[in-house]
């Protein structure tokens, strides 16, 4: 490997933490979706690193399936956001309290 495995995993952990930070701090639903994409990519990076380390192709097949899942998730999620925007004219998740009262 070009770098030790630890460095790949730490980079992946940092990316995942940045994604979590986006989900926790931002109020724009679209940005929250982008942060979820960042988290998925961080996991993909870790899987590729381990796969390279073990000379095993299984991790890369997993990454392939995660990418499929990300595509499906984004299409449905963005459709939900568009439907919500039609009803409430906002994408701020603080104002989305349909189920609260």
């Amino acid at each position: 490997m070009v770098v030790p495995l630890e460095h790949v995993i730490i980079l992946s952990g940092l990316l995942f933490s940045i994604g979590v930070m986006g989900v926790l701090f931002r109020r724009n639903a679209i940005i929250i979706f982008m942060s979820i994409e960042l988290m998925l990519n961080a996991v993909n990076l870790a899987l590729v690193g381990f796969s390279r380390y073990h000379n095993n192709v299984d991790g890369q097949v997993f990454v392939f399936l995660v990418m499929t899942l990300a595509a499906a998730e984004v299409s449905v999620g963005l459709a939900i956001i568009v439907a919500l925007f039609r009803n409430r004219q906002t994408v701020n998740i603080n104002e989305m309290n349909l189920m609260k009262n």
Binding site: F25, N41, L45, V57, V63, L78
Partner: protein, 166 residues
Amino acid sequence: MTLSLLFYIVSTLTIGSALLVVLNRNAVYSAVLLVFTFFNLSILYLLLEAYFLAVLEILIYAGAIMVLFLFVIMLLNVGRERVLPKMMSFQRAVSLFLLVIFFIGVSLFTIQGVQDLHQPAGSVSIGNVTAIGEALFSKYLFPFEIASILLLVALIGTVYLAKRKI
């Protein structure tokens, strides 16, 4: 040596652009920076010898998913947030603290755990299309079919959600 230097440079760029994605006020800038992050990740995959996934990363993420994001951002016209959310309320401080703890925990665990791993000897070429295709169509044939059903369900769900009255 040059390759490892390239790895560190690209990972710095990745972290920086990911931070900018999260902290930017303008949603369009965030989307473009996310594309940049995906390109950097693709270079990292190349350095880890996952050539097929590097191509897929650009094709699927930068090509398909981000176009969808940009479409929705421009469709909804939510360019710039009027009020920047208050960055340091009590909840945010606590969540940031927990996040740092999480990161330190993950790092410590991996650094300890990796020392127990042992790398198998010899190098097999694993990142090319042949190896992934063989695994995908023999050992992982069932998950592959399930993934196609998942995509079909997502397609039907999206079409249903896009109806005028919901």
